[in-house]
Amino acid sequence: MDPKLDLLYRLADDQLILGHRNSEWNGLGPILEEDIAFSSMAQDKLGHSLQLYSLLHQLGEAEPDTVAFTRNAPQFHCCQLVELPIGEYDFSLTRHFLFDHAELLRFEALATSTYEPLAQVARKLRGELKYHVLHANTWMKRLGTATEEAIERMQRSLNFTLPYALGIFEKTDAEAEIISTGLFVGEDELRSRWLESITKVVAQTALEMPDVLSLAPVAGGRQGQHTEFLQPLLDEMAEVFRLDPTADW
């Protein structure tokens, strides 16, 4: 695949699917303020994915609605981390923490991409992502230093989620060209910046950071291999859209 398309599909699909998942917290948050926060982040992520699908459309791909609402799981390039069900709050928070640290660093790096339209989008998105990271850090520190029960839950979620988070950095065949053409610094570089960034926050909690690089990443998502959870999510997302694809909803 063209390196630009390859990169954009991964970014856009991650944002869309995690935005969709975060929106599922409506009515279910542990406090109302968290319902509202997850909804804000979901709206941001959906907006980010729309901007990235719009770039794809400029490069000749189908309209954003068609791309988002009519593909099936094997055509998606998101990492498996984002497609897992929301589970309990400790998992959703940990996923948000691990994912958004990577996204902030990714879009900071993309702000100087040689592909100027993407660099422009990145310069805008990184401002919003800072707030997502601020939110995640605040809660990680709060719950990660709170009751024994909270610390135990957060530790369990961190251990469970980290291998999936490593899947964010799964490389594709286009990786070498993406780096050599200056589109992006590359997944290895991003992973090392990410590890440094999350380690600093975890160090301020009572949580223990596992030896991350010794963990086996849960990969495959970037190649269209997904968990059993993605297709049902897509079926639900497209349930109305597919009733009448010619309609203007």
Binding site: H20, S23, E24, N26, G27, L28, G29, P30, I31, L32, E33, E34, D35, I36, S39, S40, A42, Q43, L46, G47, L50, P64, D65, A68, F69, E88, Y89, R142, L143, A146, T147, E149, A150, R153, L233, E236, M237, E239, V240, F241, L243, D244, T246, A247, D248, W249
Partner: protein, 330 residues
């Protein structure tokens, strides 16, 4: 969004407890209200006023979070980016309204935790319309347009009431509801003027929702008693029938204008009286549903209960020896 259904049933006059209030303070309180002044949290107020307001604001808050559930289930299914983002923002607003309203009720001395506990134990109520199902996307559109429209009629009236924190919350809420109304109207118009499938979905949803919409403002004034003192204290600002008539006057023509029909052959405006005529809603059914036997009561409460139980560990974790409960001021 909110309706006044079942909010105002007072105990009989004999049991209002007013005879135990200091007559001088009571007279001063009533004079302030008559002059159009707002009552603030630390001001003197009769116990009955406090009790009724807590009950009313609490029910309003519950209606916002329970009301976010039937529309919330359509966030994940909304067709296309534009609708998906708007639906999320709209439902998020409703949860934000609940947050504002719980704070307003807390100024009167009941904690949010206690209110939520009473909600899941069935001790306090919420707007009855949310006990009905939303089987299609069009049902969600009907709520966004017409239930929110009803709520605005109600809330604009109540925003002129006497309790300061509630009025200020309502002013902010009404501003946001006005956007919801535009969003809902836009979505309904797209459906009603769309493909045959869309038109059919919208008409079916409207037919399904109309009986519930007709009960949204609560029982007919003929049946609803004991509201005189609440009107004098500006707790209740317009009667159920007044609100219902205003709603019909504003929205029935708009519904007909986009080619939809309403499932009531008797619905017409009497030009002489200015009042709308309609088939009397089934108030027995209304009572049955509000008392717990509707199609979705159990489901709505079960979702709320699960959220409370699953999130309890987070709230426990936030409560440290250093933190203590602070009653909001406004």
């Amino acid at each position: 969004m909110y309706g006044s259904a079942s909010t105002h049933d007072l105990p009989t006059t004999a049991a209002t407890g007013l005879e135990n209030e200091d007559p001088i303070l009571l007279a001063e309180f009533e004079a302030r209200i008559a002059r159009g002044e707002k009552i603030e949290p630390n001001d003197w107020m009769p116990a009955l006023y406090r009790k009724q307001l807590i009950r009313m604001i609490e029910q309003h808050a519950h209606s916002e979070i329970i009301g976010s559930l039937p529309e919330g289930t359509w966030i994940t299914r909304a067709p296309g980016f534009r609708r998906k983002m708007a639906q999320m923002a709209k439902v998020q607003d409703e949860v934000g309204h609940a947050q504002l309203l719980y704070s307003a009720a807390e100024t009167l001395g009941k904690t949010r935790e206690q209110m939520l506990t009473d909600l899941i134990n069935g001790k306090s109520k919420y707007s009855n319309v949310f006990n009905y199902p939303t089987p299609t996307w069009a049902d969600s559109n009907v709520i966004s347009w017409l239930i929110d429209a009803g709520a605005i009629v109600n809330q604009l009236a109540n925003a002129k009431g006497s309790y300061g924190p509630y009025c200020r919350a309502l002013d902010r809420i009404c501003a946001e509801e006005a956007f919801h109304l535009k969003y809902g109207h836009d979505a309904v118009v797209h459906m009603a003027t769309g493909t045959p499938i869309q038109r059919q979905m919208m008409q079916a949803a409207l037919n399904r929702w109309w009986p519930a919409i007709m009960t949204f403002f609560g029982p007919s004034d003929k049946m609803s008693v004991h509201t005189e003192i609440l009107m004098r204290w500006k707790v209740k600002m317009a009667s159920n029938d007044e609100c219902r008539n205003q709603f019909l006057d504003m929205y029935v023509p708009k519904i007909w204008e986009i080619g939809l029909t309403l499932p009531d052959p008797n619905l017409r405006k009497n030009e002489e009286t200015g009042q709308w005529e309609f088939t009397e809603p089934d108030w027995e059914d209304f009572k049955r549903v509000i008392n717990g036997d509707g199609p979705c009561n159990a489901e709505r409460i079960a979702v709320r209960r699960a959220a409370e139980e699953n999130g309890a560990w987070v709230r426990r974790a936030l409560r440290t020896p250093k933190t203590q409960y602070v009653r909001p001021l406004a």
